[in-house]
């Protein structure tokens, strides 16, 4: 009852011995995730958190059979880390790093084409299947196993939605934080297709933000393909206009990036759109008839 990650996920950590890598690897281990080791170039052969450290991702995969990687590497080097993981054949790469230059991500996106890997993020909180596998930085204790899938561009809004569900006694199948950067590996559409195909996901929460038109693309697909209840929220309804980089981005994409347009597209697709972020959990409860 999950997508992408479960009990069989064998996680390696890039940037394993750094402060963030250490803190969150520890959290993941305590959560019950199978962390098989990590990579810090130059520290290969040592042991950290009772697990082996390797110089390269390729070595780590070969020795441990890792099938997923989480990246806690600083922004100037993070794009390189994603490519290293992809080249080593890691099927699922979750990049937490915030602040990777767009130019680097354009290159990464090209590099990943034709390779059989899935990237989540960057600039994301990670992915979790409650009580099975936690990859990233999410506070594990707020999650509860169940049947609602969550996809969100925002980390803290994911926690907000999940917190509301758990308080209402509604558990989650898998929660995917796709990240807020302009170029991301897994989009709303990708995540919703996965959750829609999972028989144990009975409803989907989709949290978006102003900017881009990923939410509109996902909404169009949902309209034609999804019969499960979908509950949505768009952050930034009250954000002032003109404080971003002009509107050339929206022109190139053929969408406005505005919250009102996204919400209209979602409503037209049959999605229950919440006006307030505080009512997400309640709306899920209503749509599930609980």
């Amino acid at each position: 009852m999950s997508v992408l990650v479960n009990k069989n996920t064998r996680l390696l950590v890039q940037g394993y011995t750094g402060a963030q890598g250490t803190f969150h690897a520890t959290q993941s281990i305590n959560y019950g995730t199978t962390v098989v080791g990590g990579v810090t170039p130059g520290k290969g052969g040592s042991v950290h958190l009772e697990r082996p450290v390797f110089n390269t991702v390729a070595d780590c995969v070969k020795e441990t059979g890792a099938n997923a990687s989480v990246i806690f590497v600083p922004p100037p080097f993070a794009a390189d880390s994603i490519m290293e993981a992809a080249d080593a054949g890691v099927a699922l790469i979750v990049c937490i790093t915030e602040g990777i230059p767009v130019r680097d991500m354009i290159a990464v996106r090209q590099f990943l084409k034709g390779r059989n890997v899935r990237l989540i993020g960057p600039n994301c909180p990670g992915i979790i299947t409650p009580n099975e596998c936690r990859i990233g930085i999410m506070p594990g204790h707020i999650f509860k196993p169940g049947n609602v899938g969550v996809v969100s561009r925002s980390g803290t809004l994911t926690y907000e939605a999940v917190g509301q569900l758990s308080v209402l006694g509604i558990g989650q199948s898998t929660c995917i934080g796709i990240g807020g950067d302009p170029i991301i590996g897994t989009t709303h559409l990708d995540a919703i297709q996965l959750l829609n195909a999972d028989p144990d996901t009975h409803a989907i929460i989709m949290v978006g933000e102003i900017g881009g038109n990923n939410e509109e693309i996902a909404a169009a697909w949902i309209k034609d393909n999804v019969t499960k209840p979908v509950i949505g929220f768009i952050a930034g309804q009250t954000a002032p206009e003109g404080r971003r980089m002009g509107h050339a981005g929206a022109i190139a994409e053929g969408g406005s990036g505005k919250a009102s347009d996204k919400m209209a597209a979602m409503e037209a697709a049959g999605i229950t759109v919440c006006a307030s972020p505080a009512e997400i959990g309640q709306k899920v409860k209503e749509r599930l008839g609980l």
Binding site: P101, N213, G246, A252
Partner: protein
Amino acid sequence: MKVVKTVEDAVTAARKILGMQLVTHQTGPQGQKVGRLLIEEALPIEKELYLGITLDRASGKNVFMASSEGGMEIEEVAHHSPEKILKEVIEPGIGLSAYQARKLAFGIGVPAASVNAAAKSMMALAKAYDEIDCSLAEINPFILLKDGRVMALDAKLNIDDNAMFRHPEFVDLRDLAEEDPLEVEASKFSLNYIKLDGNIACMVNGAGLAMGTMDIIKYAGGEPANFLDVGGGANEEQIKNALRILLSDSAVKAVFINIFGGILRCDVLATGVVNAARELGISVPIVIRMEGTNVAEGKKILAESGFNFAVADGMKDGAEQAVKAAQ
């Protein structure tokens, strides 16, 4: 833009423009004060064109845009006659190819004799965009002269903030006088702060929740005084400075702190807030809503601080309390 014939006229026009509040599509409704002026030689213009580059998120590639409708705001063109904006995708690692540049030049009505010169400029712009990590580049107007030459008259370049580590040469170009003083102060502590017009200050972790918090304040009948994302891994020092910056806005009547701790632990937040309150003294009501990592420790620190913080149960309750407190 003003066209003048004599030096005296130029001085008069410059006096008028300098210091005025300029409002365009890109400044927002409040406009921006003009501090500098670009003076160009007046040339016999045959045609004003538009060139621009930005990222297409969907394809993950940059897109070159060209239009025959130069000299006006491109947003207007996109709205009224989108067919007049031609686009070519820039292939990563290859750049804008000559054939693409020619296609655009012919497409926007550059005469055959000037096409190669125009194409050369376009390719140079694409190269510069890539090399200096732009997120937006615009030449508007790009002009065709009566004698067939082409020329860039005005340009706008946005640099990707995340790539500044590669471009120390740009650090000195930052003109702090053009920016809001509180925003400048916030940026010193790596805080993502944007000042707004309301009276309820908010401190939030994560851009999404920060926007959601602004939304819920409005939903509860209030007006946010700012957007403030303290980031995922804020430390006590950042929290303290964030609160100081929020409180230095004299319009602020209440503060709403909304934190869902992931990396940012609630105890770190609480300690930062308590220390800031001790150092700064608090003049307005502070409503705090905390969830997530180490929330029990955080609540304990607040309760034992001796300050009368209002602790909210959920973000709806927090927003409502803050709106009430600000009235």
